[in-house]
C-alpha cells in the first residue's frame, strides 16, 4: 500500500515568491492534515480537512497561506508571498475513519526561503 506522498521534497525560493506543496493521502483516508515543523520543534497544525471540508484552519495564516482539497483526495498548500520565517518542513498526514486512529505522515517538504 502506498503511503502519503508529498512533493516536492525540497524547495528553495526567494522571499516574496509564491510556492505550492502537494499531498496525496492514503486511499480511503478522509482526514487530511497539514503541519508545519520548525527546526528543532514538534509539528504544529496548520489545517485539518474532513473530506473536502476544512474543519480546523484556526492556525493557518490566512493573509498569505491557502489550502484546498478538491474532491476530498489530493491537497495543495500555497504560500504567497513567502517570507523568511516560512522556512520549515511542511508535513502532510492522513488518517482513516475512526475516532482515535493513528495519523500516517508523508516525508514532508523542506522549504527554504532566502
Amino acid at each position: 500500500e502506498a503511503g502519503v506522498v508529498q512533493s516536492p521534497r525540497y524547495k528553495i525560493i526567494e522571499k516574496k515568491q509564491p510556492v505550492a506543496f502537494w499531498c496525496n493521502p492514503i486511499s480511503g483516508h478522509n482526514t487530511l492534515y497539514w503541519y508545519r515543523q520548525n527546526l528543532g520543534q514538534g509539528p504544529e497544525l496548520l489545517i485539518r480537512y474532513e473530506n473536502e471540508e476544512a474543519v480546523d484552519d484556526s492556525q493557518l495564516p490566512k493573509d498569505r497561506f491557502s489550502a484546498e482539497r478538491l474532491k476530498g483526495v489530493d491537497s495543495t498548500l500555497k504560500i504567497q508571498p513567502a517570507e523568511l520565517g516560512d522556512s520549515a518542513v511542511y508535513l502532510c498526514a492522513s488518517r482513516p475513519p475512526g475516532p482515535h486512529t493513528e495519523a500516517f505522515f508523508g516525508q514532508g517538504t523542506r522549504l527554504t526561503v532566502v
Partner: protein, 113 residues
C-alpha cells in the same frame, strides 16, 4: 487547551542498553489517545506505540513499552535493547475529540555503538 511537554531535548544510550524518554501532558478531557512517533533523518514520522487513556494496561510493542500514569498525566517511552537504527527524534503526541494531534518538542535520541 491541551499541551504536551518533553523535557529532554537530547539523550544518548549505549547499544543494547535501555533508555526512557519522558513526556507529560495537560488536558481536562477523560477520553484521549497518546502516541509516540519516531522521526528519522528522512523526516517521515513513524508510529512507535499508542496508548488509549481508558486502558490501565501499559502498551507494549516488541522492544518498546510505555509507562502511562493517567493521574500524573505522564506517558514515558522505554526502549529496551537499543539498536543503532533507533537513533532519531522521538515525539510524544496527544489526540482527543478535536481530532488534531498535539506534539511535544521532541527528544533527540542517539544510540552509541
Amino acid at each position: 487547551a491541551q499541551t504536551v511537554t518533553q523535557s529532554q531535548p537530547e539523550m544518548s544510550v549505549q547499544e543494547a542498553e535501555t533508555v526512557t524518554l519522558s513526556c507529560t501532558y495537560d488536558t481536562s478531557e477523560n477520553n484521549y489517545y497518546l502516541f509516540w512517533y519516531k522521526q528519522p533523518p528522512s523526516r517521515q514520522m513513524i508510529l512507535v506505540i499508542r496508548q488509549e487513556a481508558y486502558k490501565q494496561q501499559n502498551a507494549t510493542e516488541n522492544r518498546f513499552s510505555v509507562n502511562f500514569q493517567k493521574a500524573a498525566k505522564s506517558f514515558s517511552l522505554k526502549i529496551s535493547d537499543s539498536q543503532l537504527g533507533d537513533t532519531a527524534m522521538y515525539f510524544c503526541a496527544f489526540h482527543s475529540g478535536t481530532y488534531k494531534y498535539i506534539f511535544g518538542t521532541g527528544t533527540r535520541l542517539k544510540v552509541l555503538a
